[in-house]
Amino acid sequence: MSQDIEASFVKTFSGGPQIRVENLRTSGPALTTVLFGTSGSGKTTVLRCLAGLEQPEEGSIRFGDEVWFEARGPLLPPQKRAVGFVPQEYALFPHLSVAHNIGYGLNRVRHRERQERIRETIVWLGLEGLERRRPAELSGGQRQRVALARALIGRPRLLLLDEPLSALDGPTRLRLRGDLRQLLKQLGIPTLLVTHERTEALALGDQLIVMDGGRLVQRGPVHEVFSRPTNVAVAGIVAMETVQPGRVVESADGLVSVVVGQSKLVSLSSHLPPGTEVYICIRAEDVVLVKGLPARSSPRNSLSVVVKALVPEGPIMRIELDGGFPLAAILTRQACEDLALRPGEQVTALVKAPQIHLIPR
């Protein structure tokens, strides 16, 4: 029977900044909750409090019916929480080999079983041949996998990942993101993952919790939070105006067709086979509005949309459209006036194929 974290606490740092968490929950076995926010919003501290490495002043942290922390009450030390924790820079023990790093938490297990489990874990994470190496001799991607192996071999009940991919370079990051997603799905435990990268949150998370200034400001399914920020602050943090689920239906000549709602969009492929579930992401600045049908134009995507609302934001105008799915565009006020846009009007929205970002689910 798997359990979930339930935490409400306050942690203050000397010097002022305070972190106030209300009702932080993970969402169940095999589901990943992403704690999302800009650097300095307190995400790492929350993770450390859950792991037992920091102690809050008020509140409580519970896991299922176990009390991990209670103000003026019992405190369960990290040793007893059976939590897998992977910090940002992985913190592999530099003086131990890969095998010893991974096996560190199993010192109470009998030798033969320990060796077997280490072997299994190494195979599972694709680390064969590296058993004797020291962390300094590993690549970034290898280190990340060793850190995961070390955290997972003890069969933890909860996995806490702090920016698991930020220490990696671009191409590696992309590749490992997919691997990590697969891995997280295989575990039967809840995962709480911290990141400040939008694409990572989308790729890895099921639930999203946005943190700002030490507080939890919004939570919900990932794409929902991204596309419907409840306030300006969250909108600023997520900065991705249109996020919609879709499915690849065709893939040829370097282009893919994706069905979103009732519309079909064309994007650049990255070897996504038909049937893949994806999110499409479109920045509002990338949407061009045209009144009257253009004769011939370069953007592959030409949608009939209806203007739903016009929201002024300083010198620019944010336009909410409906094209079979919610779409946002940003125009200058001037442009708006030139086109004489009004709610209810039908216009054409143009988006270039490369500007439709696909994130496989």
Binding site: A51, G52, Q79, P87, E89, F93, P94, Y104, G105
Partner: protein, 223 residues
């Protein structure tokens, strides 16, 4: 170099080694407390430990003489309950060497412990390791370079110790005479050549020890 001289060197080395072994657990424990724990009296403890480093050695020797002498606070207890006499025996030599070299070990080890990233210790906790296991498998190995340097320096200091030693152990030939005490004595007797030979040996050993210790320190900062 006479046979007595060789015995002298052997005796001094044995005493220095013994004192270094004695201060290792004490010094490491103190260093760890000073590096990791936070409590109000910490500064006082740190100062007390460092005192023998800055006080004139004879002053330290005088204090030891008072406390461990037959009529002193510790000495009388040792004499009455354990039948043990410290002053004017080889035990006093170990005592003097230990007290004088402890600060060097603590200083170096404290630095070494402070440089160990506490993240490693925290991860170890999440993996189920208790505090003692963490100390021996994570903290200590990661601090070993600095600790080794500190141990070497402490040993070298013990080899060369004079002021406190002569106060509590005297200069009993064959029983408590150390290398540096012998040098002093030969000078007093006018046997300068003899004194120079022993002084040369003393200096060479000290030079070697410091060289090795600095080697460790330099290698550590280069990483």
């Amino acid at each position: 170099m006479t046979r007595e001289d060789w015995q002298l060197i052997g005796f001094t080395a044995r005493m220095a080694a013994t004192s270094t072994l004695v201060i290792l657990p004490v010094g490491l424990a103190l260093a760890w407390c000073l590096a990791r724990a936070q409590w109000r009296g910490k500064v006082l403890l740190e100062t007390a430990v460092m005192l023998p480093l800055v006080l004139p050695p004879v002053v330290t020797g005088l204090a030891l003489l008072k406390w461990f002498g037959r009529r002193g606070a510790c000495g009388s207890w040792l004499h009455d309950t354990l039948g043990l006499d410290l002053i004017f025996t080889w035990r006093a030599v170990v005592l003097a060497l230990a007290v004088m070299s402890l600060p060097l070990l603590v200083l170096a080890s404290k630095s070494a412990f402070e440089e160990v990233d506490q993240t490693f210790e925290q991860i170890a906790r999440t993996l189920g390791a208790g505090e003692w296991r963490i100390f021996f498998t994570i903290t200590l190995p990661l601090a070993r370079r600095g600790i080794l340097a500190g141990t070497l320096l402490a040993f070298a200091r013990a080899l060369g110790e004079f002021g406190a030693t002569i106060m509590v152990a005297g200069n009993i030939p064959g029983q408590t005479t150390t290398l540096s005490v012998a040098v002093y004595q030969y000078v007093q007797l006018g046997e300068d050549a003899h004194a120079w030979v022993l002084a040369g040996i003393s200096a060479s050993v000290a030079f070697l020890a410091v060289l090795l210790a600095s080697g460790h320190l330099v290698r550590r900062t280069k990483r």
